[in-house]
């Protein structure tokens, strides 16, 4: 601790102590049901409920939303969320279920909604009582986000929404959706508007949620269909036609480049048996020590060792880059490192999982419900799932454009 905390302000230092004390007494322990590797893969209502209880208790203790003002349900502190996050990680807590709510919806609501709407929505969002999902992607609007076809038409004080959203994680549990859609067909960027939409209340009454099946055979994503859904104009964020600007707030926070730090707990091992999680090079090395290759172990193959070390170096670099991003004197362009995170992290995880095939050899053919599959078949699963994230939230090809254009200042490619 000592040195890591040296720079805490008095408020931060006090708050850190308070977090530590509370976490010591209130760690929720092991879950009664098995949890998936991340909140976006939640499918068991019992798992969700248990995680919601954890989020609520951490919220009540002031560890979540502490940098938001008191009047919107926050803690009214300054620069304390990162302290709470550090302490929750150290205490190896479970992750928080309302991940889209906190990471994307909350800052967007905070910066773009009317005050009474903030006060209505944010407390239950931060406490995890109301789950949020995100309605950005459409069949024709993948990486080209501005190509929204879902249409909202003004009808007095209401809006009538029709359209088709895809890849909406958590929609099957969500109370609310942040929705980007078109309100003017004549202008690609200035014809977009942004809403908070109460979807659970409208299920079967203008809203249909149905699961999409991933190539892994798992569900998790959904598609959401709007058929003349009517919502109040009070849930519009910012001006009509300002949707693109509002979406940039969402995306900046999604990329960790927003001004509000996202509440994040975690650190609790999920799959204790296999230890597999994308990014877990330690378990890759254990695997290499167990698996046969040629006349020795995979861990003896110098060429595989070289490959594994390459991955480990990339992982350490990711960690040290985010450390350096926190030291303004050591970065020339403030967005240079933050805008890399998604690109670099998702490709690293893909490459880690792909390397597992070479370590497992013939046994990499075995899937999750084969009793002889190494690491319970989680590596081929992790590899396939890794494409979800190299594609989502702006395919990595688009991420490279963003870096080339915004950071290096090269001409726009589109």
């Amino acid at each position: 601790m000592a040195a890591a905390d040296r720079k805490d302000t008095t408020e931060q230092a006090e708050f850190r102590e308070q977090c530590q004390k509370w976490l010591k007494a209130n760690h929720p322990g092991r879950p009664p049901v098995q949890l998936p590797q991340g909140a976006l893969e939640l499918s068991d209502p019992a798992a969700l409920q248990w995680l919601q209880q954890w989020q609520k208790s951490a919220y009540d203790a002031g560890l979540i939303g502490c940098d938001y003002p008191l009047d919107v349900g926050g803690g009214g502190k300054e620069n304390c969320q990162s302290i709470a996050n550090q302490e929750m990680q150290k205490a190896k807590t479970p992750y928080l279920p309302n991940i889209i709510g906190m990471g994307m919806a909350a800052p967007t609501i905070f910066f773009h909604c009317q005050d009474e709407v903030k006060a209505e929505l944010l407390p239950k969002l931060l406490s995890g009582e109301e789950i949020w999902c995100q309605g950005f992607s459409e069949p024709g609007a993948g990486s080209d986000l501005a190509n929204q076809q879902t249409f909202a038409e003004k009808d007095g004080d209401n809006w009538v929404i029709n359209g088709h959203k895809v890849w909406t994680s958590l929609a099957h549990f969500a109370d609310w959706m942040i929705l980007l859609c078109r309100t003017d067909k004549s202008d690609k960027y200035n014809g977009l508007s942004y809403f908070a939409v109460p979807i659970k209340a409208a299920l079967g009454k203008g809203v249909t949620v149905q699961p999409l099946i991933k190539m892994t055979g798992q569900t998790g994503f959904n598609e959401v269909l709007f058929d003349n859904l009517v919502i109040s104009d009070r849930y519009r964020m910012d001006d009509v036609g300002a949707g693109w600007k509002v979406a940039m707030t969402t995306l900046a926070h999604e990329r960790g480049a927003g001004s509000l730090v996202t509440p994040a707990s975690g650190g609790m091992a999920i799959e204790e048996e296999s230890g597999v999680s994308a990014g877990n090079i330690g378990s890759l090395i254990s695997l290499a020590k167990q698996q046969h290759r040629g006349s020795g172990r995979a861990a003896d193959d110098a060429s595989l060792r070289d490959e594994i070390m390459k991955l480990m170096i990339r992982q350490e670099a990711l960690r040290q880059n985010s450390r350096r991003a926190g030291v303004p004197e050591l970065t020339d362009h403030p967005m240079r490192i933050p805008l890399q995170g998604k690109l670099v992290g998702t490709e690293l995880n893909q490459d880690i999982a792909e390397t597992a095939y070479r370590i497992e050899g013939a046994a990499s053919t075995l899937y999750v419900n084969d009793p002889n599959a190494p690491a319970a078949g989680q590596w081929p699963l992790a590899y396939m799932n890794s494409f979800g994230v190299t594609i989502a939230a702006g395919a990595n090809e688009v991420q490279r454009n963003i870096l080339g254009e915004r950071v290096l200042g090269l001409a726009k490619s589109k």
């Binding site: 190539m215 595989l304 053919t365 454009n401």
Partner: protein
């Protein structure tokens, strides 16, 4: 000195066979049909069924494909390895679930045995019987000398064989087993008593795989202890060519399908393929497919004409084809975007087949380690 023919041995007969196979596949095995056959149940914990079109297989048997490389003396067609390679490429391009590749592999192992029993086994293939290799141990070793099956005093077999390809589609297994003088080869009937087949639960939907448990199972010796591992080693180049050809075919499907998508999918007011971030990797996929294809034909042609060069050439082919299999499948999913990540998009069928293929009989790095030993000498 023997030399390879310029055309890799693709004479008129081979080309005609390839063209008729291509037509047959496009007439009868559309990807649509394939998906509804093997992917109708998406659930991970679905029943582990062996899904294949046995009616179509009977037609294929009547077309004589299983017998193409069986010597004429044993009732086969007696064509060279390139003929099997041509068929394997079409099978791969259709992602077709069948025991054909196992039959080819068995054919080349049996051809290297040169015993009366082996000739009889070849004749049974020519007669339409299905067969596959059971020559891999629990650790998944590709070494011809490694087996977890033992030959009992009475000639029966006890132990286990693993990673047996398309096992549930086959009536006979060609099993490597250790006797007192080394590894021999044995023919075992799928219905033999004492034999248990345990289906593996695998990622690839277009294959089935199993492990076999032997408890005093009656077997016919086709290569005696000590001679079996040689026969396997002699057939390895052919086996590597066949699996490489399957990857070349599947790679071409992935390339063409992704190219078509990149022509029609509009993003940022342009078809995807306009963007060099899509175009150039697709070109790289094409380059790798061409490399793998030419190396595979070369290796098959060497096997047929200059056998002393066959192993090196085949390991080169398998190395390139395996790397290509990984790259072609990964880019196909990535460039199909969200839709490519779904079960309903057919890409995953070929993605999974490629990832299965690339590890079979040793991945790219494994082949290169062998090559380095052969070309550079062992490392000190």
């Amino acid at each position: 000195m023997a030399v390879e023919p310029k055309n890799f041995g693709f004479g008129e007969d081979e080309t005609m066979l390839r063209d008729s196979a291509r037509k047959f596949m496009s007439d009868h095995c559309s990807t649509d049909k394939l998906h509804s056959l093997v992917a109708s149940d998406y659930q991970i914990d679905r029943d582990n069924l062996c899904l294949w079109d046995q009616g179509l297989w009977q037609q294929i048997v009547e077309l004589g494909w299983p017998a193409v490389c069986v010597p004429e003396a044993n009732g086969g067609i007696g064509m060279p390895l390139v003929a099997a390679v041509a068929l394997a490429e079409e099978i791969g391009k259709a992602g077709f679930p069948s025991p054909l590749l196992g039959i080819f592999n068995s054919t080349f192992v049996l051809r290297a045995c040169d015993s009366a029993a082996a000739h009889q086994a070849l004749a049974s293939i020519a007669g339409g019987k299905t067969m596959t290799l059971a020559i891999t141990n629990a650790a998944g070793s590709w070494h011809s000398d490694h087996t977890d099956v033992e030959v009992n005093k009475d000639g029966s077999l006890t132990g286990g064989a693993y990673f047996v390809q398309d096992a549930r589609k086959c009536e006979q297994f060609l099993v490597s087993a250790r006797g007192d003088k080394g590894v021999g080869l044995y023919l075992v009937d799928a219905s033999a008593s004492g034999l248990t087949l345990i289906p593996d639960s695998i990622v690839d939907l277009t294959r089935d795989q199993a492990h076999l448990s032997f408890s005093d199972v009656a077997a016919v010796e086709v290569a005696s202890p000590g001679k079996g591992s040689n026969a396997i080693a002699n057939a390895i180049p052919a086996i590597l060519c066949i699996v490489s050809a399957d990857m070349v075919g599947a790679g071409e499907w992935l390339l063409q399908t992704t190219v078509e998508y990149a022509k029609t999918r509009i993003q940022f007011d342009h078809p995807l393929g306009f963007f060099q971030a899509v175009k150039h990797p697709l070109v790289n996929v094409m380059l790798q497919i061409d490399n793998a294809k030419s190396l595979t034909y070369h290796a098959a042609s060497a096997f047929d004409h200059v056998p002393e060069n066959a192993e090196r050439s085949a390991r080169m082919a398998k190395s390139e084809a395996s790397d290509m299999a990984v790259f072609s499948s990964s880019r196909a999913v990535q460039f199909h975007g969200g839709i490519g990540f779904t079960w309903e998009c057919y890409v995953h069928l070929f993605f999974k087949r490629q990832m299965h293929n690339q590890v079979m009989y040793g991945d790219a790095k494994y082949q290169r380690a062998h090559l380095a030993n052969s070309i550079m000498g062992p490392a000190n």
